[in-house]
């Protein structure tokens, strides 16, 4: 197998590699996924467990029920995975991929909990980039950024 996609948590303590393009990428609106990511939905990217490798650190798990667990980084909190331990695939959370662009969703589930304002998201105004009105703030953030870059690194944190 060879690495096709990589990803990890915000602080870089956990990194992983995928040897397979995710299949049936989907939005899940269910209340459990909402809570796990602190948002209106999660975007889950299934791959076979045989195609998922942790390349740095250790993933922590919370058993959200007896049959499912949620993987996250205990150092920075980034939600990483949705996993049914008894099935052959594992769901990577799309925002943890180094290139989330490459896993567009094809479906949406858990629609009983879909927030009413989901359908209006595209009507929400605002096109500005980060701190376009406050270059000093942008500089303070970018010059002290503790986020791992969107590619693998030989050592982390970098010296």
């Amino acid at each position: 197998m060879s690495t096709l996609l990589t990803g990890g948590c915000q602080c870089g303590a956990v990194r992983y590699a995928l040897d397979q393009q995710p299949f049936n990428v989907h939005v899940c609106h269910c209340r459990m996924c909402q809570k796990a990511v602190g948002g209106p939905f999660a975007v889950i990217c299934p791959v076979l467990k045989s195609a998922f490798r942790v390349t740095r650190g250790t993933i922590s798990y919370f058993h959200s029920s007896d049959i499912a667990r949620r993987g996250f980084c205990a150092a920075c909190g980034t939600p990483l995975l949705f996993d049914y331990p008894h099935v052959e695939d594992i769901g990577v959370l799309v925002g943890t991929l180094d290139e989330p662009d490459r896993a567009p969703p094809e479906n949406q589930y858990g629609n009983e909990s879909r927030v009413a304002w989901f359908s209006g998201l595209l009507d929400v105004p605002g096109e500005r980039p980060t701190y376009a009105d406050n270059p000093d703030m942008l500089h303070r953030i970018s010059s002290t950024n503790h986020q791992h870059p969107d590619h693998d690194t030989a050592t982390w944190p970098q010296k």
Partner: protein
């Protein structure tokens, strides 16, 4: 940014951390920036703030990751739920809308961090509908039943004791 009186509660998935606010700001927003994406493992973060002095941490203590010089990302170290974005020099804490007990009450009014907006964002409202949790075949119904029967998620209201 206006502040208004409102009783709001929320917390993490496992219930180890709970919060309450008596006032909110009208700043509900989406941030697509790459740092917010990573913090929540998603394509964007949705945030709404409460004034710092209007917040009570009613159970447990959030853990913090300092993503840059003066910004903390709060989360539950027991279950990982992202709970807030906080400029530690500012007057407010921005809660993740999904960690609130009633996220439906906080539609975002503006997008920020648009340099990192995923190119497939516009496809979201028109994705095919795969139904509700447990719908579909018998296998789906069986696992949904098994999840409900052993659900470890804190309910969407405050509790006297937990677990």
């Amino acid at each position: 940014m206006e502040r208004y009186a409102m009783e709001v509660s929320g917390g993490c998935q496992c219930g180890a951390v709970r919060y309450h606010a008596t006032e909110m700001f009208d700043n509900a927003h989406v941030c697509h920036c790459r740092m917010c994406q990573k913090a929540v493992g998603n394509i964007f973060i949705t945030l709404v703030a409460a004034p710092r002095e209007a917040i009570t941490w009613t159970r447990g203590t959030p853990t913090r990751f300092r993503s840059s010089e003066h910004v903390d990302r709060g989360f539950c170290s027991a279950c990982g739920t992202p709970l807030f974005y906080e400029d530690v020099t500012g007057n407010r804490v921005n809660f993740t809308i999904g960690s609130l007990d009633h996220p439906e009450l906080f539609p975002p009014h503006v997008n920020d961090g648009n340099e990192s907006r995923v190119p497939w964002y516009d496809s979201l409202p028109t994705l095919p509908h795969g139904g509700t949790t447990g719908s579909g075949d018998d296998d789906n119904a069986a696992w949904a039943t098994a999840i409900r029967a052993s659900n470890n998620q804190h309910p969407d209201h405050d509790t006297e004791t937990w677990p």
